[in-house]
Amino acid sequence: MTWLPGGGERRWAIAIVLALAALAPLPLAGPRDDVLNFVFLVLLSITLAQSWNIVAGYAGQVNLGHAAFFGLGALLTRALWTSGAPVVLAMLAGALLATAFALLIGVAAFRLRGAYFAIGTLALGEILRTTVSNVLPEISTLPAASIASYRLAHRYYLALILAAVSVLAVAVLASSRLGLGMRAIREDEAAAEASGVGALGLKLIALALSTGLAGLAGGLFAYYHISYYPAHPFGPQWTFDALLMTFIGGVGTLHGPVLGAVLYVLLKEYLAVRWVDFHLLIFGALFIAIVLLLPGGLVQAAARARRLVTPAR
């Protein structure tokens, strides 16, 4: 097991994958559809948050155009799958498109540092969203035959696999030389370059991995929804969701985004019953508090609390 991260991260990786495996028999128990839908949303959110975590948490590049890659994955997957391709192949093609686009713009975008990269990618995402909503203004609905054969359990298992893949990908990355180089760039890019880390190459690798996973998550979105506007998955709220979940849980950690995703979806679904979008007020405020007071998110809060209760050795 040398490829697994050492220490705490290895334990977290094993714990999360075991927890995901425990969710596998759920559809067999024949629960209500809303339970299955809820777990599906949590799993999709874990994948989305984890994908953003790679480029922002580990490589330190705050990508505010993440939705563009989620959207590209959804776009191509939907097109290929509805015209007859197997869904897994369609999703892989969607991920490939997202990654290819990311590498295309990455070389230019990574000339921007820090906040300039953030607002540059935000603008790129909006360009893509506006263009897609102009070119494809019609709602995309599955044909009647597909609706008749729709099985929620299929979506559920794909989501489960994807969430596990994303957690394992981050776990492997975190322990590898690549991950070490990325963290060096995050802490101090100039110092990393001076010690022989090829910053541009590593940032491109992080972006490729991150956008590939986002593309897969987008493909899952396209496979799951019966009808949606093609521009919807390009909307900035997907970026914002990923950012909130990752930061609230703990940016740059393996288990933080998972924790953040579970909490976020729980509160969102609970509050949506009475107050649409009210969760954003709470999470917006929580997010500000975390940036100001607790940059490590809930994971850091838990570590501090643990240090308080365990006596000093």
Binding site: V62, A108, A109, R111, L112, R113, G114, A115, Y116, A118, I119, G120, L122, A123, L124, E126, I127, T130, T131, S133, N134, P236, F240, L243, L244, F247, W275, V276, D277, F278, H279, L280, L281, F283, G284, A285, F287, I288, V291, L292
Partner: protein, 289 residues
């Protein structure tokens, strides 16, 4: 031909508001190195302030500026004390990044709050002289929007005068130039920051009022206006408020021209494309002096 000219005139008219929207962002970023991405949401709040004053008190829409501007000034003071004042303690790079994140959280919270308070519907305010139009040759110019442009220009001029003539205005510019040197000459840098942030917020409030009068306001206009302001700041650079105003006019006209060339829906795209290209060609942005 006259249709194109008409489009360009309308582009010029909204361009003045782009300039006004950008001036506040430019002032705050130039002085504090704080990038407040909730600027568009502050504009939105200003718009709803005007909407309320008209709906509840029956004020003339343009007169609401007399209340919205001081209100936004106070809001700016509160936001500085409560949030952005903490960010300026860090070094410059952390400052930009953290302010971006805080602004982002603030934008989400304000958007959700606005949906709670005013619902997601679009609102506009009726003006008693709303339909009045000046006709110049083949062109027709809506009086309300022309007045808005004039007010925007007057506000920018006032700001420019404040920054060049007023004691504290000079202190703000000195702080923008080099805060350490400013500190050494005895300038209260923290107060200069506070003033710059409050004035920037007041400008956002004024811009929001004019947007609501000439067009409409809804909780979701924030991101769009933040992007417009960012585009103008990148185009015009920092340091000159008149330059920012001209940058706004240029963006308005460019949008109108691209809408005429590629069709209406693409008017939003041109500005973003300009923005990305400028950023990539000059990675530090035209933000740098």
């Amino acid at each position: 031909m006259s249709i194109l000219a008409q489009q360009l005139v309308l582009g010029l008219l909204i361009g003045g508001l782009y300039g006004l929207a950008a001036s506040g962002l430019s002032l705050i970023f130039g002085v504090m190195k704080v990038l407040n991405v909730a600027h568009g949401e502050l504009i939105m709040l200003g718009g709803y302030g005007a909407f309320w004053l008209v709906a509840l008190l029956g004020l003339d829409p343009f007169l609401t500026l007399a209340l919205v501007i001081p209100g936004a000034l106070l809001l700016g003071v509160g936001l500085y004390w409560g949030l952005f004042g903490f960010v300026v303690r860090a070094d410059e790079e952390t400052r930009v990044k953290n302010s971006l994140l805080i602004g982002f959280g603030l934008a989400l919270a304000l958007h959700a709050l606005a949906v709670r308070l005013w619902t997601a519907d679009e609102r506009s305010v009726p003006t008693p002289y709303g339909g009045a139009v000046f006709t110049v040759g083949p062109l027709s110019i809506p009086a309300v929007r022309l007045l808005s442009l004039a007010i925007a220009f007057a506000l920018i001029l006032t700001l420019q005068l404040l920054l060049t003539r007023w004691r504290w205005g000079k202190a703000i510019r000195a702080t923008a130039e080099d805060w350490q040197a400013a500190l050494l000459t005895g300038i209260d840098v923290r107060r200069a920051y506070l003033l710059a942030f409050a004035m920037g917020t007041a400008l956002a409030g004024a811009a929001g009022t004019l947007v609501t009068i000439g067009y409409s306001v809804s909780p979701s206009i924030g991101l769009e206006w933040t992007l417009k302001a960012l585009i103008v700041v990148v185009l015009a650079g920092l340091g000159s408020m008149l330059g920012t105003f001209v940058g706004g006019l240029v963006l308005g006209v460019a949008e109108a021209a691209s809408a005429a060339a590629f069709g209406g829906p693409y008017r939003e795209v041109i500005g973003l494309v300009i923005f990305v290209v400028v950023l990539v060609v000059r990675p530090r942005g035209l933000f740098g002096r």
